[in-house]
Symmetry: C2
Subunit: 161 residues, 2 copies
């Protein structure tokens, strides 16, 4: 009897432990939205870094080593090194993340938003080009979110249809 | 004693059930790659549907009701209905999915690939425009993968740098 009680207790403890262990994945709404909020904030930090340090340096910080970029009018670029080398300088790339979504497992997500590319035309006159983008993100082994896919395309100015 | 044995048995069964229930998420490598293969095949089916039925009908079949499209040169479109209505006809949209990735939790993934837009120019002469795309996919309640984000941008022809 004592032995059976002991077994019951052990099993009960294990069951309780497993149940508690499982509450993470089985209480998603709050946790998921917190994770999505967190990823949205990371994309906002990425945008802030681009305004503060320039796009190339920001991309060097926020891209995964195995990132892929699909640049408009060019072939895909593979790897952070190739992407950053291709980015050049002398322009201001600003963007406004609009939404983030993260998988229940918490390691894969995506964001989208609108961007403004502030540059100068052939006559040196400042111009702004508008567009929108999607980034796919993967949480790295150190817990940091990094961009694994970057692509976008042009949009009309915000006040035009 | 009998009662304790019964309790032990019930707890043991629950424990076994929970353990089996948990093996899914904790044996990822094979399962993940199978899931990614499956999603890649769904994107290939989507492409086949576009060639067989036209892009608009294929998009009507493969887009989630709450899908978003980020069309080049235009503002975002929200909802399958708005996207499909905007797609028109009289062209052939072919694409070749290259890679799929699925989150460990199995409900969120993405694909990318290259596309060819076969259309006619102002003089009625057949032309091909090339590009690449990313689709974000969410598994629906019925277990089917549907596109929740669609965007792409132009590329040079495959044989040009």
């Amino acid at each position: 009897m004592k032995r059976n009680m002991a077994v019951s207790f052990v099993l009960l403890s294990m069951f309780a432990f497993i149940t508690i262990g499982k509450t993470g994945p089985t209480t998603p709404p709050v946790r998921e939205s917190l994770t999505a909020e967190r990823l949205l904030q990371v994309d906002k930090d990425f945008a802030k870094a681009s305004e503060a340090k320039g796009a190339a340096e920001a991309f060097a910080l926020f891209l995964a080593e195995d990132a892929m970029q699909l640049p408009g009018g060019a072939h895909p670029l593979f790897g952070r090194k190739a992407i950053v080398e291709n980015m050049g300088s002398g322009y201001l790339l600003k963007w406004e993340p609009k939404k983030a979504e993260v998988a229940k497992s918490g390691e894969l997500g995506w964001t989208w938003g609108t961007y403004e590319l502030h540059t100068k035309d052939a006559d040196g006159k400042p111009t702004v080009r508008y567009g929108k983008y999607v980034n796919v993100w993967r949480k790295q082994k150190d817990g940091r979110w990094k961009v694994i896919v970057d692509l976008g395309n042009p949009s009309p100015p915000p006040n035009q249809p």
